[in-house]
């Protein structure tokens, strides 16, 4: 086993810890930009995992996927989000409905929950258990951010984190879907973020704020 193999396996197993950390930090973050950076870092960790997988599996397609993720999630989307923030010129707070301190505690609880949840369902896949727990934790944290952060951009971020979680789950369980499907998914993601950006502008233009919890004209 070469040094690279060892590194790849190490990355695969230890990445989970980093992902938990990013999730916790995101829950504790007060500014949107912090979250964007954290997301970029999280995506970078994911990219590393993809490359490690590709290396272990000797799959050229996986390299391509890794490159794509790097391009889109680590560079493209964070950059676009930061650009959006500058252009929208709105307050940079995340718009908490649950305080950041409490959020961290709840997030920790969710991580524990994800561990136990994975235990409940997938007792037979011990090797990927940690990674899968991380995936579930990401999904939960994404969901948590979307539910508790009222700024439009934070919802986008929450969605991205959630998507990261799903991506990770796919990665560790199936070692990747067919290539064309992966491209399609990423393409959808990009368009989705683009559209959300468009709507963010429109919300700002029509309501002069970006707080989605105040979009409550349509109800009942």
């Amino acid at each position: 086993m070469g040094i690279l193999d060892v590194a790849a396996l190490k990355i695969l197993s230890s990445a989970a810890v980093l992902l938990f950390t990013t999730a916790l930090l995101m829950a504790g973050a007060k500014r949107i930009s912090t979250c964007v950076y954290l997301f970029a870092f999280q995506s970078a960790v994911l990219t590393a995992q993809v490359f490690a997988t590709a290396f272990v599996q000797h799959s050229p397609e996986a390299y391509a996927v890794g490159a794509m993720v790097l391009l889109v999630k680590v560079l493209g989307i964070p950059y676009a989000l930061l650009w959006l923030m500058r252009r929208l010129r709105t307050p940079h707070d995340v718009g908490t409905t649950v305080g950041t301190g409490n959020s961290v505690f709840i997030m920790a609880g969710l991580i524990l929950l994800s561990f136990s949840a994975v235990r409940l369902y997938l007792q037979d896949f011990l090797a990927v258990e940690v990674a899968l727990s991380a995936a579930v934790a990401l999904i939960l944290s994404g969901a948590f951010l979307m539910v508790t952060r009222s700024k439009a951009l934070m919802q986008v971020l929450g969605l991205l984190v959630l998507e990261n979680g799903i991506f990770l789950a796919a990665l560790v369980t199936t070692f990747g879907m067919p290539f064309i499907i992966e491209i399609g998914i990423v393409f959808d993601l990009v368009i989705g973020i683009l559209l959300m950006g468009v709507f963010a502008f429109r919300i700002r233009d029509t309501f002069e704020h970006l707080d989605v919890s105040r979009l409550r004209r349509l109800r009942g």
Partner: protein, 667 residues
């Protein structure tokens, strides 16, 4: 055998002709020139189709040759019509009564509607009749429900055609809603057969009927009772009836009250006797008691009304109650193995249905004629019409006598048969030692006494005495078509009253089918013989007494020496019924309010106002809370739709989490 001699071919041909006629008539109405003569031709076309239908009904009733029409190939579900004897009876009823009603409609539509509306009226009316025909001739559940729902829709459309004020709209809404709920129950009743039957043709249901489990049978009966009861307006499901019937166009009111209610009776008979293969004993008691309550409350409510059409609507409730009493008795007899008595009671019910169709549509049309002449339907504003519109007056008098169940008019025959079958119930085992059936004689007696009072009131106040308002004083002439329609129905009432044997014999052969083993009740023979004799001697004696020479002189009515009686001194409908209403005050629960001004000097009033409003207690204590509960539940649910997208997301997450937990623990 040649085509003309084979009754089966003729019947089949006639049936198709009638259906086609009713289907084509709306097309003609919609497309033809809008002239009076064209309208008349159209109406004549409809009447012709109906008369053919009546002939077919009578022929099937007589010969027992079934006509049928199978459209299953066209439709996704079995869709077939079949006229067996039971269907034929109701088919006959519908056609016979609809024909004069259509005739009546010609002047009615001319007077009430603009050209556009008249076209709609002539499109909807034959379709409404057709839908009723479909209901009673349906041979599959699908066809039945198809017709059943259309019947509601078309009648509601006709109601709204008459006008669309808020009040009318609200009543039409109540009608539609309650009918839809009833239809849902009827649908459930049919669907319940599906546990055993492979499909919903009546044949399959019939053969499955006997093998249904006891529980399912109970539910079939309960849903049938609820669904058909809703349509026929049994208490407390009658709420819609006095609201919807009065606001329909008068010919349609006549059809709704006289004919449409009977489709529910048909349904109940079809389900309990035919498809279920015989009723259970307890169902008989239920129907009996429901019928008794309905009859008594119906006539008491009728007594409290002075709007002619509302009064007639409540009286329909009463008559439906009587029909249910007879049906209940029939069920009891059938369940206890007394088929001949059951046959007697079923005949009583069916005959009363036919009779009611005649006199109720007669009276509704009479009300329409009154409205035509005086532009009012409030009895309090009428009076003295007998001298002004005598044909209408005499017809209505016959109708009133018939509906009060007086002898030598048709209403009596049904009630008499009812009495006889109830009396025979003295033989029966009774619950807790109570001879329930004979006791029902008292109920029927009370009801018929009250209805006599009610219709003395109706006829006496509106046709007799002095005109209470200028409209009544200057009542217009009644058009010829209206007169013919009224006279036709009135003579039907008299004919059936004097010569009931005319329908009793076919009814007997009908009943033999749905009640196996039924013999011939001797009562049928008896009444067929007695009534002609009675009527003959009565007429002879009347003529003899009238022939007595008299010297007559016109005077004024005695006014206790005062110079003149003003119409305001006359007894009104409300004052007439006051004694009865005060005896049965607990039924009415009216809200009374007396205001005296000035309030501080009650003994020296300058003005007093008295207001008495009656809401049926069912509405207050049952329907309102029910509707309020639904709305309150909806309002609560509405709060879940907060408008906050974060909460929406939470719902999705929670759903997912719950499902995952469920999956985990369901293993």
């Amino acid at each position: 055998m040649s085509m003309t001699e084979d009754p089966r071919v003729m019947i089949q041909f006639g049936f198709l002709l009638c259906l086609t006629g009713l289907l084509v008539a709306p097309l003609i109405s919609a497309t033809m020139r809008r002239s009076t003569s064209a309208r008349r031709a159209d109406a004549a076309f409809i009447i012709g189709s109906l008369l053919i239908g009546a002939a077919v009904g009578a022929a099937v009733l007589w010969h027992g040759e079934a006509a049928d029409l199978d459209l299953s190939r066209l439709a996704p579900f079995a869709l077939a019509l079949k006229v067996d004897r039971l269907s034929a009876f109701f088919f006959f009823l519908i056609c016979t009564v609809s024909a004069p009603v259509t005739l009546f409609s010609i002047p009615y539509a001319q007077q009430h509607y603009s050209e556009g509306r008249a076209t709609w009226f002539w499109v909807l009316l034959p379709l409404f009749v057709l839908s009723m025909v479909v209901v009673v001739t349906a041979a599959t559940g699908f066809a039945f429900l198809f017709g059943w729902e259309l019947m509601t829709l078309l009648s509601a459309a006709l109601i709204l055609l008459e006008g669309d004020s808020d009040d009318r709209r609200h009543n039409a809404f109540i009608y539609l809603l309650m009918m839809h709920v009833g239809a849902a129950a009827v649908a459930a009743c049919f669907f319940l057969f599906l546990g055993q039957a492979s499909n919903l043709t009546f044949e399959a249901m019939r053969s499955a009927g006997a093998s249904l489990t006891a529980n399912v049978r109970v539910w079939v009966f309960v849903t049938a009772m609820f669904g058909f009861g809703m349509k026929s307006g049994i208490v407390p499901l009658h709420l819609w009836l006095p609201r919807a019937h009065p606001i329909a166009p008068t010919p349609v009111s006549a059809l709704m009250s006289g004919v449409m209610l009977k489709t529910a009776v048909y349904g109940l008979v079809r389900i309990t006797f035919d498809l279920l293969g015989g009723p259970a004993g307890w169902t008989g008691y239920v129907v009996l008691l429901v019928g008794a309550v309905t009859a008594v409350l119906g006539i008491l409510y009728a007594l409290g009304e002075h709007d002619l059409k509302r009064l007639l609507a409540y009286s329909s409730v009463e008559n439906i109650g009587l029909i249910y009493v007879a049906l209940g008795a029939a069920m009891l007899f059938a369940a206890t193995g007394l088929p001949t008595l059951a046959a007697l009671a079923v005949i009583a019910a069916l005959l009363h249905a036919l009779n009611h169709a005649f006199f109720k549509s007669l009276l509704f049309l009479g009300a329409g004629a009154i409205h035509h002449s005086t532009h009012t339907l409030d009895i309090e504003n009428l009076g003295g019409l007998q001298r002004r519109i005598p044909v209408v007056g005499v017809s209505c008098l016959i109708g009133c006598c018939a509906i009060a169940g007086l002898p030598v008019f048709n209403g009596f025959v049904g009630e008499w048969l009812m009495f006889k079958s109830l009396l025979a119930g003295g033989e029966l085992h009774a619950i807790g030692g109570l001879p329930v059936l004979p006791l029902m004689i008292g109920v029927v007696g009370l009801v018929s006494g009250l209805s006599a009072a009610c219709f003395v009131n109706v006829y006496g106040i509106s046709f007799l005495g002095r005109p209470r308002t200028p409209q009544a004083h200057h009542a217009d002439h009644t058009p010829r078509a209206m007169q013919v329609a009224l006279v036709f129905l009135a003579s039907g009432c008299v004919l059936l009253g004097i010569w009931p044997g005319l329908v009793l014999r076919p009814l007997l052969s009908l009943v033999a089918i749905i009640i196996p083993g039924a013999g011939t009740p001797s009562e049928l023979q008896l009444i067929s013989h007695v009534l002609p004799v009675l009527a003959g001697s009565m007429v002879a004696l009347l003529l003899a007494s009238l022939a007595l020479p008299r010297v007559k002189r016109l005077t004024d009515t005695w006014a206790c020496g005062l110079p003149e009686l003003s119409p305001r001194m006359e007894y009104t409908a409300s004052s007439f019924s006051k004694p009865i209403r005060s005896v049965f005050a607990f039924v009415y629960r009216s809200d009374r309010k007396i205001e005296v001004t000035p309030a501080e000097e009650p003994y020296f009033p300058q003005a007093m106002s008295y207001r008495s409003a009656r809401t049926t207690s069912f509405e207050k204590s049952f329907y309102r809370p029910l509707v309020d509960t639904v709305i309150a539940a909806a309002q609560q649910l509405r709060r879940l739709q907060t408008g906050n997208v974060q909460v929406y997301l939470l719902y999705i997450f929670l759903t997912l989490v719950c499902l995952l937990f469920l999956l985990r623990f369901s293993r």
